[in-house]
């Protein structure tokens, strides 16, 4: 499987069992995951994402199967030079945005500029709907989720961009009607027989395997695929195929 939703680092509100690259890769492999798109957890909260992105990417550079995803905060004055610099130095596979944590709207003009740059760099744009279940957030740091409708509107406004919504709940994902260039990972999506239920609402080509490791238990996401009551073809698309084509990965 290819996991499009993995993070590496530490988080002040949770104790991670895998916070270094090699143990993380070993753990993912034990769950049947051979490649993972990895972003830095600290880059969500630290004011300059470059600091922890660099530390993260230097760690994973030496570990086969872990692929870098750059966290971008378009509110920062330096985002453009930073992104281009990282794209030169690392084989970035995507960028990740956290609009709720970095406090901007996806309709902000600065985001238009960012998307143009991402398209130029051939990088899909991942938008984190949330990082944690809002009900379990630290009481003094309540961060609302990004409405899926806003992400859908954003994707529709940028038809040449490839947009991935991470950590959407089932009911949020299936409510999105306009989704031509929009993809969803399955980390937070859950209903009885999750993948069968999801594929009743949308084609499998728009779904990606994501586990939100190390926040969530990797095996829990893996078993959604292992026990999915869907065709083998659709299962393969969600587990790997869609990620290979979307992120231009080697088979």
């Amino acid at each position: 499987m290819i996991d499009v939703n993995v993070s590496l680092g530490r988080w002040p509100f949770q104790r991670f069992l895998f916070d270094a690259a090699r143990p993380l890769a070993r753990h993912l492999k034990s769950c049947g995951i051979r490649k993972a798109l990895v972003a830095s957890t600290e880059s969500v909260l630290y004011p300059d994402p470059d600091v922890y992105d660099e530390a993260c990417f230097e760690q994973i550079r030496e570990v086969p199967g872990l692929l870098p995803v750059k966290t971008v905060n378009p509110v920062l004055a330096t985002w453009r030079t930073s992104l281009c610099d990282f794209a030169d130095r690392y084989e970035l596979k995507a960028i990740r945005l956290y609009p709720s944590y970095h406090r901007y709207g996806l309709d902000d003009p600065i985001v238009n500029e960012l998307v143009k740059t991402a398209i130029k760099l051939k990088l899909p744009v991942m938008v984190a709907v949330r990082v944690e279940d809002e009900r379990q957030q630290y009481s003094l740091m309540q961060v609302p989720g990004v409405p899926l409708a806003a992400i859908a509107k954003f994707a529709a406004a940028h038809p040449r961009a490839r947009v991935v919504a991470l950590n959407g709940y089932f009911h949020e994902i299936v409510a999105v009607k306009e989704r031509r260039n929009l993809y969803f990972d399955i980390a937070f999506a859950e209903l009885t027989d999750t993948l069968r239920a999801l594929t009743e609402y949308m084609p499998a080509r728009q779904l990606l395997f994501g586990s939100q490791t190390p926040f969530l238990t990797t095996k829990a996401a893996a078993m959604k695929v292992e026990l999915a009551n869907i065709s083998q073809g659709n299962c393969e698309r969600i587990a790997e195929g869609n990620a290979v084509s979307l992120f231009r990965l080697d088979r």
Binding site: T192, K219, A220, M223
Partner: protein
């Protein structure tokens, strides 16, 4: 072997009068390796909390019917709304447990469990030697359900009734703090059902409570056996501990007489 301590039969547009068949849910359970399911009742299908006596009886009658249809696969608990008349509730326990085929009590969000109206019901549970599963979730900033119980409330209930086995559900919902809340009360077990499969929580709970105080639960429908079981199988604990969580502890609490 897997025993799912926390399930509901909510499939489709079921009503109390004409429930959809339970077999599709059983098939999904068996596909995931579940060998027994504990039914907690078709709660909320009447569209409201604090159901009246007529609806409550219908919920429990349905559970009893499902257990009777598949006694080797289902066990079931008797759902109670403690706001109802106390005499009726004791009679309902006797109808469903003493004279029926249900083997535990289930409380939801109808009344905070510090309320003394629960006491005679737990006294009856002690007399019948049956466990009680009481909904819980840490709601520090969630005030949407005024009568629900947080883990400190469960701890209070456990202290009042130390001889009754109390199952506090939703490990992800009660979190680290919930584990600490019930730590001093050995009669409280926690089930793993519901919420997201937050990593590290099972490991933490095993470390704090010991492996004998955790039970696997899914909270289907609305939840998926696959990832609910996956959160236990993926926990960084020994195979023996996983076995305890997945079925041994439940077999003990439900007095199923299964050892292998």
């Amino acid at each position: 072997m897997i025993i799912d301590i926390h399930t509901h039969h909510f499939l489709g547009r079921e009503t109390l009068k004409s429930p959809e068949p339970v077999e599709p849910l059983m098939r999904l359970a068996k596909q995931a390796g579940v060998t027994r399911m504990n039914l907690l009742g078709n709660l909320f299908r009447t569209g409201k909390i604090r159901p009246p006596a007529r609806d409550l009886k219908a919920i429990n009658t349905l559970t009893m019917r499902q257990v009777r249809a598949y006694p080797d696969f289902f066990t079931g608990f008797c759902y109670l709304n403690p706001v109802l008349d106390g005499r009726f509730l004791i009679d309902e326990i006797d109808r469903c447990v003493a004279d029926g085929n249900l083997t535990g009590l289930k409380f939801e969000i109808d009344l905070n469990c510090r309320d003394p109206r629960l006491d005679p019901l737990l006294d009856r549970a002690r007399e019948l030697d049956i466990p009680v599963l009481h909904h819980s979730w840490h709601n520090i900033d969630l005030c949407t359900q005024p009568y629900k119980s947080d883990p400190p409330d469960i701890a209070d209930l456990a202290a009042r009734h130390p001889q009754v086995t109390i199952i506090m559900p939703h490990l992800a919902g009660v979190g680290v703090r919930g584990v600490l809340d019930v730590l001093p009360h050995p009669n409280v077990l926690i089930d793993t059902s519901g919420g997201l499969s937050v990593a590290g929580l099972i490991e933490y709970a095993v470390d704090r409570l010991g492996p004998g105080r955790l039970l696997y639960g899914s909270d289907v429908n609305g939840r998926d056996f696959s990832c609910q079981i996956g959160r236990v199988l993926g926990a960084q604990v020994s195979a023996k501990v996983k076995e305890q969580i997945l079925w041994r502890n439940a077999a003990r609490v439900l007095k199923l007489g299964i050892t292998e």
